[in-house]
Symmetry: C2
Subunit: 337 residues, 2 copies
């Protein structure tokens, strides 16, 4: 069977990872990536052998930098079966007309509004909804992390109420422009934050509220979860449930910080030290006064990457069973090792 | 020929990297690593298949954590031809009697005083001095970075005077105990700092002074160099000279920070995002009023790692020619790619 032709529009934090993850699969291939500036990321894209497509106005700059250009972004889109749009948040929506004109399917990221298309996506919770669809939005890193925890809990015990406090990393490690350097920023002041309610784009029946704070760190987001379940269970039951999920990793080994989780990822030899799984701190899982509590850390740069691969598989009808797609993606990427 | 048996005593930031680098060589092997706590680093060591040796008093904790122990640290040392001591600074010297008693060769790191043994080491500058030696100290990350730049400049143009300002990363990425969070710390107040003069343990004739400041960052150290050369040359001459060296990487691609260099390392697929080379900012290399100026970034976690491999090769008489050893080490580790 011919491989599905995937174009990655926008080769930044998420785009470069999606390209590498797609390249590892045997049922899809990267036919090109787009870049606007001939910076070090473009140099590495060339080293990896990706065809680089650029805006007409960038051609001269790429030539000057000695980087070969395969064509314009429009030309890339025409060659693709599906485009993964990883352009910065709120820019992606402006590309929609381009995709519609070319008659290609498209995936947006969680930085876009839920209104960019009718279907928001999480591989474990609603893979079926995206089956054969033309347009899908993979929800944000935080929403992805929340869905991965809430979905199995809801299936097994029923979820009555979720309260989550999200302490967000303020910027990514390679980002030298974003602050704060030294402050905790209410994000936003008026409650709730959009993060928890965004879960409803995947699971509309979940009663959830969230508060968010930005902290001066780059490694990961941290969630403090409080969940009221409908049926009784023990902390050990929840640990076993989480252990059985394909994209939750229970963290122990003396680790009590996001910094050490990333160090763990480096030691494991993960590509870019990525922690694609939700990282639940094993010893934090506890039941107090009948309610479940735990901490989980979410790697903002990478946790949505395997979700994009599964979304492609669902939209292109490569696999009907979500757990089979997840297993295939995980195996190719080394998730769970 | 039988491979040289290397024991790595201390499996932290440097030790785990030295173990991985030794394991990549075809003329030496890791016969064991030592660890005092069964933390995530020990878990990964076990995953990688290293034999783990522990203090007698730690055996119970390792058993409890389900980690297999191969024996005591003393037993590991007896099996080795050479020990790379990567225990914390000032602890290494206390192990010297142990190595002498077992009759094994040993390498210490730059965190130890230069008085731990008569020979300090840099692969490019004084490989010959370590040839067949029993005890060698690989100089610190900063001194290594300075030697790599000063040695070829001195060979080609003669160095009359070096002035360096070192802005140090305060802690490593996985370190959650070291500060400052928000301050620039004079390190120390009284000039010069030990960094520049430590170069004299390798090249005694170099006239050098240094000032150091600690900054709240974890990625890399940054050197601001001012060098008065004896013979005239242009900035392009220096760039070409640096380009020709095996462990200097000229950095461009729009990069103006240590954060972006590490991001570059992640994108390149480097193990633990390590930048083993001195990273000279290409566009910073300049001549002003007859003196050379440039910035270089030094990856404190990894730049000494290939130096340790070359030190083993010299001490064990595996290779007489330093450039051949460097080339062999570089090729096995992927340095220069």
């Amino acid at each position: 069977m011919a491989k599905v032709k995937v174009a990655v529009n926008g080769y930044g934090t998420i785009g470069k990872r999606v390209a590498d993850a797609v390249a590892l699969q045997d049922d899809m291939e990267v036919i090109g990536i787009s870049k606007t500036k001939p910076n070090f990321e473009a140099q590495v894209a060339a080293l990896k052998g990706y065809d680089i497509y650029v805006p007409e106005t960038s051609k001269e700059a790429f030539a000057k930098a000695g980087l070969k250009v395969a064509g314009t972004i429009e030309e890339m889109i025409e060659k693709a079966d599906i485009v993964v749009d990883c352009t910065p948040g709120k820019i992606g929506v402006t590309n929609k007309a381009l995709y519609e004109k070319a008659g290609v399917k498209a995936i947006w990221q969680g930085g876009e509004s839920k209104d960019v298309c009718p279907i928001s996506f999480n591989a474990e919770a609603n893979y079926d909804q995206a089956y054969g669809a033309d347009f899908v939005r993979v929800v944000s890193c935080n929403t992805t992390g929340l869905c991965r925890a809430i979905f199995p809990l809801d299936q097994k015990y029923g979820v009555e109420k979720v309260r989550v406090t999200i302490v967000r990393r303020a910027g990514d490690p390679g980002d030298i422009k974003t602050g704060p350097i030294d402050a905790l920023v209410l994000d936003p002041v008026k409650l709730p934050s959009h993060h928890g309610p965004d879960v409803k784009t995947i699971m509309p029946h979940i009663n959830i509220t969230s508060a968010a704070i930005k902290a001066p760190t780059t490694f990961m987001h941290l969630h403090v979860l409080n969940i009221k379940l409908k049926k009784d269970c023990t902390a050990d039951d929840v640990k076993k449930l989480f252990q059985s999920r394909p994209r939750i990793k229970l963290i122990d080994g003396g680790i009590s910080s996001t910094a050490e989780i990333i160090e763990f990822g480096r030691d494991l030899g993960r590509s870019r030290n990525d922690m694609w799984e939700s990282c639940v701190f094993k010893d934090s899982v506890s039941i107090d006064d009948g309610e479940l509590y735990f901490f989980q850390a979410i790697h903002q740069e990478s946790d949505v990457v395997p979700e994009n691969v599964d979304a492609i598989r669902s939209m292109m009808k490569l696999e009907m069973d979500n757990l089979k797609s997840i297993e295939k993606t995980n195996k190719a990427m080394g998730i769970g090792l």
